[in-house]
């Protein structure tokens, strides 16, 4: 237990109660929240609407960064943290996987909520069983199962091992779901709607203002991810420390 958050833990329980929330909501979190609000304000008032999709396209300044940070930063940390835990048996790695999984769940929920809001006016449908959408949905289900599993196990060491196994298996699953849905769509006649590739801002041509807003939104979401991860890690370290103290094996 060499974390700075733990070593600076006040000794009285009253001090602990008042200090813990401060440790989680710190300057970085405040900065991230301001950045998110600023990016949203820029997207709404200071970025021109897209010619074909109109105002609906602006949801992408939330949707795309949340998806990229959730899928490519938070989710891999769940699997990597778990695999490294099984190898090194360091509690900090389990806390990394645990914290990342909750943030991944949050970001993927944002993705799955904002996607249909945009899909209805643009695609004409809330949902389509496209490979990317389906993989994201099932990854979300795996993360929910992961969190419920964590909540269902009392023993910390057992919880860490089990969730590491689920994290690793989940990482192996995603390409298979992607592949089976891809095959399902190519081998199966489907009503043609616009594919995500055709209308994703990254693939379409963006005006300089639009790509600047998207860039700000990315920075804001990465800052939010780092702030949430740091706060959640501190919380987990404090909680484990309390558990240790209560068990009397500090």
């Amino acid at each position: 237990m060499s974390d700075s958050a733990v070593s600076s833990l006040p000794s009285t329980s009253a001090g602990r109660a008042s200090r813990a929330p401060v440790a989680v909501f710190d300057w970085l979190m405040a900065l991230a929240v301001v950045a998110i609000v600023a990016a949203a304000a820029r997207a709404i008032w200071f970025t021109p609407p897209e010619a074909l999709q109109g105002e609906a396209q602006k949801i992408f300044y939330i949707h795309v960064p949340a998806a990229v940070v959730g899928l490519y930063m938070a989710c891999p940390l769940v699997a990597i943290g778990g695999a490294m835990y099984l190898w090194l048996r360091d509690d900090r790695l389990d806390r990394l996987a645990e914290s990342s999984s909750e943030i991944a769940l949050l970001f993927l929920s944002i993705v799955l909520l904002t996607g249909p809001l945009w899909g209805k006016p643009i695609w004409g449908t809330w949902w389509t069983w496209d490979a990317r959408l389906t993989s994201t949905l099932f990854l979300w289900f795996v993360l929910v199962g992961y969190s419920v599993l964590r909540g269902a196990i009392e023993d910390r060491e057992q919880r860490a091992r089990y969730s590491a196994v689920v994290g690793i298996m989940g990482a192996l699953l995603v390409p298979f779901i992607h592949l089976s849905v891809d095959m399902f769509r190519t081998m199966h006649p489907q009503p043609i709607v616009l594919t995500p590739d055709a209308v994703t801002p990254g693939k379409a041509r963006l005006s300089p203002e639009m790509s600047a807003t998207l860039k700000y939104a990315f920075i804001a979401f990465i800052a939010l991810f780092v702030a949430l991860l740091r706060g959640r890690l501190r919380f987990a370290a404090l909680r484990d420390r309390v558990e240790h103290l209560e068990a009397g094996d500090a």
């Binding site: 091992r161 089990y162 196994v165 689920v166 199966h188």
Partner: protein, 231 residues
């Protein structure tokens, strides 16, 4: 050193599977429960569709593989649930055998159980839905075995963990069902092709996907299983 270890891993696995199957044979609890569940499912699914609007042949593959996934889940708990009684698992863990052998034995007995349920569910679907399978039935049987291997490897691994948790019956479906997607989708799609008289070549990509899943998850489950029983 390596050679005798491999041989004994297999024989230990067979021994464990034989023990589980003997218990199942004498009690017949999980098998009959799953069988009745399957047959009920097949008949209920038939009745919730309007047969004049949707042809039975169109829904049969979906019904078969949906029931397969859920009936499989119903019995997967049994393999490790058995070992909880009178702390039999401790004895198993104290035995000087490879942990992988325990997994293989449990998976093998689950495989026998799942394929037996499937062996009765497929004819039941053919009978109740008036299907004409012909030579496709043999290929369907092969697809059934491939799908069962995938389902059983992931299901056995997860049940070895959920059996120690507070809401085992709830957690296993939550964890395992997303993993059954790459098993059920190819199996259902291939069966639909076979049902309309498609040749083996038309379902080959789906069979390849099933084989890839079985190899990948079979190996991964054997490798990570020892981490689930370290107590």
């Amino acid at each position: 050193m390596n050679q005798p270890r491999t041989a004994s891993t297999l024989s230990v696995a067979l021994l464990i599977a034989r023990k589980d199957l003997a218990i199942e044979y004498r009690t017949r609890s999980a098998f009959f429960a799953s069988l009745v569940f399957s047959l009920l499912g097949v008949s209920i699914f038939y009745m919730v569709w309007d047969p004049t609007a949707v042809r039975p042949i169109d829904i049969a593959p979906g019904v078969l593989w949906t029931i397969f996934a859920f009936a499989g889940l119903l019995g997967l708990h049994r393999a490790f649930g058995l070992e909880l009684q009178t702390r039999a698992m401790d004895g198993l863990l104290m035995a000087p055998v490879a942990r992988e052998a325990i997994f293989l034995g449990k998976a093998l007995s689950n495989l026998v159980y799942v394929t037996s349920v499937l062996a009765i569910t497929i004819p039941a679907v053919v009978l109740f839905y008036n299907l004409e399978f012909g030579s496709g039935l043999l290929i369907l049987g092969g697809i059934g075995v491939l799908a069962a291997i995938g389902l059983v490897s992931v299901g056995t691994l997860f049940s070895s963990m959920t059996v120690h948790t507070r809401f085992a019956e709830l957690l296993l479906p939550m964890l395992a069902l997303p993993f059954f997607i790459p098993v059920v989708v190819p199996a259902a799609q291939a069966s639909a092709k076979l049902l309309v008289g498609g040749a083996l070549s038309t379902v080959l990509p789906w069979i390849q996907l099933l084989v890839a899943f079985d190899i990948m998850f079979g190996v991964a489950c054997v490798l990570v299983f020892p981490f689930t029983i370290e107590d």
